[in-house]
Symmetry: C2
DNA sequence: TACGATATTGATATTTAAAATCAATAATAA
DNA sequence: TTATTATTGATTTTAAATATCAATATCGTA
């Protein structure tokens, strides 16, 4: 089994386990949203509105509130993360691996988002937390600036 | 002159220069808000609402919109920064020094905010940006977790 | 399989922070 | 002092997040 396929199964299991633990129910809608989100939005950062519009194409009867609530569920059980890049809209992103924590570099001109990971930053960060006796549950790093193509365009 | 007093003057100058450059006007209200914000909220993270309520005590005639707009002005001219810790409310914080970039560690239990600065993280970060040909204008790092006293309390 | 308890759904309403509007007023330059 | 232009404060508008609720779907159990 490829690592991607394995991860896919794990994600599904995490979700199913969470549903069982919290005594929730599995529904057609949750499956549809799960599949669309994790098949089409790997490595992307989608707003509730965008995902809703996308899903509506093939499933016109699905409501906005359901998409909204399901994305929150994904976040709660740890298979998606919520991001906020300062435009007032929450964005959701599938978590690809449990270990690799990545961050974002956002071009304030064109909105392009570049992801990056950096082991050194991660370890500095944990060290800082340890010093302050914090138990880290999450962290986010965002760099805002102008990308090279926007710099070109400005000239 | 103490470094703090010096910084105070610089901040005022930056603000005055910005007003001149943009052909804005200096007003009583802006002065009141400036003084309250930079005298009472050093090292803190205040919401518009909080600052408004505070200022109203001595200046009942000042409007919310003015406080809101003035904090945006401070941000625009680079003497304050806007933060968002995920509770849906923007917070403003006086910038203490132009060089020292600090970050935040937020306890998700009690809301306590610990500030920290780390040179190593800063330099890693610039390196990453350089690699991707990004011109950095700003960056933020937030660590979410549980502080030691909340951990104690849980037991 | 049918039943009953309980969670979910989708439409809609409510809440909230951010931003826009605008007439009255204040600041500035000539 | 006057004319011009920006600001103020009250209010409204916008838009995202969240809450509400009747109808419906899920699921364990008989």
């Amino acid at each position: 089994m490829t690592p991607v396929a394995k991860r896919k199964m794990e994600r599904r299991k995490t979700f199913n386990d969470y549903i069982a633990k919290k005594q929730l129910k599995s529904t057609k809608q949750r499956d549809i949203i799960f599949n669309e989100f994790f098949n089409s939005y790997m490595g992307r950062h989608v707003t509730v509105e965008e995902l809703y519009e996308d899903i509506k194409k093939n499933n016109p009867s699905i409501g906005f509130a359901t998409v909204y609530r399901t994305l929150k569920l994904f976040k709660e059980c740890g298979i998606a993360s919520e991001r906020n890049f300062g435009d007032g809209k929450a964005r959701y992103e599938p978590i690809r691996s449990e270990t690799e924590h990545h961050h974002h570099m956002i071009c304030t001109e064109c909105g392009q988002i570049v992801e990056f990971a950096n082991m050194q930053i991660e370890s500095c960060l944990l060290q800082v937390a340890k010093l302050n006796e914090f138990n880290v549950s999450n962290h986010k790093l965002e760099i805002y600036g102008i990308c090279s193509s926007c710099r070109e365009a400005q000239r």
